[in-house]
């Protein structure tokens, strides 16, 4: 079977919406229900955050959700357990996103094997260096059918963007501005120039824009410069504000971003 991420990008070229949430938040056992609601809501794929104690690339919202999830008792082993039957209920692409230390602690090969067993399609590990991936991990990821998604930022040089593109599959995660997650909430001219610059490079991989996308307006703007966008902090806020009516709130929020509701 072809990787679900590749399948999605082959069939859908624009307006792709992804959401991020931290596993184990707001309550420990919400993971499965949230994923089902996201699927129902019409979002295209999901990044499931693996909480980490020291998330340096995250802003306050996601950091807080990680902290709460860890206090709730979330762990890598428990996450795999929560996801073990997920493919009977959810068929959209699923990615795990987190920091590399818990993955190293779990054991890289064992971790990838588990990902394959539960039906994970790709990984985003922002603090894993490209070089380390190519030398030590690529073979293992490929063995278990996992795509590794790399980030680029406005400070990434054209030369390096091309290098990342060459070694990437699936899509490229385009960080919208120099910031941690959730830091900014509009799209500036400077960012638009960066989106244009990347578009002009003629990359083989589609791009998804993340960081600072929070509503229909910013989503639409991102979509006019890339294949789609990822909403993290704003989605986590929706979960935080609606712990007792998660499904309804998720469907409402995704509907409002896509313009199918409100």
């Amino acid at each position: 079977m072809e990787n679900r991420i590749n399948e999605l990008f082959k069939n859908k070229k624009e307006g792709i919406l992804s959401v991020y949430f931290s596993a184990g938040y707001p309550s420990l056992n919400d993971t499965e229900g949230i994923l089902e609601a996201i699927q129902k809501s019409g979002a295209d794929f999901v990044e499931v955050g693996m909480p980490f104690s020291d998330p340096v690339a995250d802003g306050p919202t996601i950091q807080h959700s990680s902290e709460v999830a860890l206090e709730n008792g979330m762990s890598t082993a428990l996450l795999f357990n929560q996801l073990k039957d997920i493919r009977q209920k959810v068929d959209m692409p699923l990615l795990l996103m987190g920091y590399i230390n818990p993955v190293i602690k779990y054991g890289i090969e064992e971790f990838c094997k588990k990902c394959q067993e539960v039906g994970i399609d790709g990984l985003i590990l922002p603090d894993m260096p490209m070089q380390v991936y190519l030398e030590d991990y690529k073979e293992i990821f490929e063995k278990y059918g996992l795509l590794n998604i790399f980030l680029i930022t406005p400070q990434t040089s054209d030369e390096r963007i091309k290098y990342i593109d060459e070694h990437s599959e699936g899509f490229i995660y385009m960080v919208s501005s120099a910031s941690v997650t959730g830091a900014k909430s509009n799209v500036s001219d400077q960012q638009l120039a960066y989106f244009e610059r990347v578009n002009d490079l003629g990359l083989k991989n589609p791009r998804i824009i993340g960081f600072g996308i929070s509503n229909k307006e910013t989503f639409d703007k991102a979509c006019s410069h890339a294949s789609g966008a990822i909403i993290g902090s704003a989605f986590v806020n929706v979960l935080r504000e609606n712990p007792s009516r998660l499904e309804e709130a998720i469907i409402d929020f995704v509907g409002s971003v896509k313009g199918t509701k409100n």
């Binding site: 690339a57 590399i100 230390n101 380390v132 980030l151 990434t156």
Partner: protein
């Protein structure tokens, strides 16, 4: 001479080190990696660095033969007096070096993290000296227990920002500084205070601190007729003073390198910062090293009476020294350290920083021969710790 303990071209000491950073930090770290050696090897840089160390910092610091302490422990003890540096600790050796690097990189703003406040004060000092804007991140708890240093930083014109997440200590201050750098990538240089962080920081900081071991060799030659001692003792949080004290002895197999780690209330009590005793291989703050962490790979919140040693990891060079058996790592509890610190005060009239007291406690835990020469790096002075001493000793 073999360079077994030097960093390799990929930034590793054995299996430890590297640059595990999000892409947002890549351009900054890469720029530094490409340029740091070329910059610090320039004769002009070296002259400016050496002149400032001599005329502003007050180097060379004395290598003092501690007669009464030597009698007490029946061995020959020399104290490398880093406590006599301007700002009161070894930290300034590195901040002088890094601010000169930052200038040459065209940066106008400086950020730093600090635990005990010594690195924060040293950074605020060199920023004042060079007229650069300075923001120091410090754990909320550390701000309370090291209040005099917070005040000093403010007088020097720095902005001190509390880190309010996690354990509210050094590791969290480091997280906040890294976030700030991610948000301000072009005009800002991050002065990391220890031999931690992504390559090239551990190597760069170790090189700036290596002035300590360079001087020890010269001074020992004058005093003892030979350049190498039998033992060098230093405390290790992240490990910058130890890296500096060990640096020029790394390849001398006859020199025993002893690192004192903070065991807090005891290695097994759950309130400890003894990294090699409790830690496992992992990645934090940009490098692969030995870390205190849970079975799930979450970083453990460390504890030590000393804010400067309250860190869940050690620098990758130290991880390699431990892993290869080149270094001897000894755990020292709060009580052992405080008692050793007070003993130095009474025997030699020197009140050491609580960090340095951990190194001093090694004399109570390990015997040395009468004719052996032991050099202890007295990394800082205890002015900032008076309250801790008063509370502990009931003075």
């Amino acid at each position: 001479m073999s360079k077994k303990f030097d960093v390799n071209d990929k930034g590793y000491y054995g299996k430890f080190g590297g640059a595990y950073i999000p892409e947002m930090l890549y351009p900054n770290v890469e720029e530094l990696r490409k340029r740091y050696l070329e910059i610090i090897e320039e004769p002009e840089f070296q002259k400016e660095f050496r002149d400032l160390l001599r005329d502003y910092v007050g180097r060379p610091t004395p290598l003092y033969f501690a007669k009464r302490l030597s009698e007490e422990y029946n061995t020959k003890i020399y104290l490398k007096r880093e406590d006599l540096n301007h700002t009161g600790a070894h930290k300034v050796n590195n901040t002088i070096g890094q601010i000169l690097v930052a200038k040459r990189l065209g940066k106008s703003k400086i950020i730093a993290e600090t635990g005990a406040g010594q690195h924060g004060v040293a950074t605020a000092t060199v920023c004042a000296l060079m007229g650069m804007e300075c923001i120091v991140y410090m754990g909320e708890i550390d701000m309370k227990r090291q209040k005099p240093n917070v005040e000093r930083m403010k007088i020097l014109g720095a902005k001190v920002v509390p880190a309010t997440c996690g354990s509210k200590t050094l590791k969290d201050a480091t997280n906040e500084a890294m976030r700030h750098w991610i948000n301000n990538p072009t005009d800002t240089h991050y002065i990391i205070g220890s031999v931690v962080g992504p390559h090239p920081y551990p190597d760069m900081v170790a090189r700036f601190q290596s002035v300590i071991s360079e001087e020890i060799r010269k001074q020992l030659k004058e005093k003892e007729g030979k350049e190498t001692p039998d033992h060098v003792i230093a405390c290790v949080g992240g490990g910058s003073n130890a890296a500096g004290a060990f640096y020029h002895f790394l390849e001398d197999k006859n020199v025993n390198l002893i690192a004192a780690e903070a065991a807090g209330k005891g290695v097994e009590t759950g309130e400890s910062a003894a990294t090699t005793a409790l830690g496992h291989e992992g990645v934090l703050h940009g490098s692969k090293t030995i870390l205190m962490q849970s079975n799930d790979g979450q970083i453990t919140e460390p504890y030590s009476i000393s804010a400067g040693l309250d860190y869940p990891g050690i620098g990758p060079m130290h991880a390699h020294l431990f892993d290869s058996g080149r270094g001897e790592f000894i755990s020292v509890t709060d009580d052992e350290a405080m008692s050793a610190g007070v003993k130095l005060a009474k025997l030699e009239g020197i009140i050491p920083a609580v960090e340095s007291s951990h190194a001093l406690a090694v004399f109570d835990k390990r015997k040395f021969k009468e004719d052996e020469i032991v050099v202890l790096n007295l990394s800082g002075r205890g002015d900032k710790d008076l309250e801790t001493y008063i509370r502990w000793g009931g003075y």
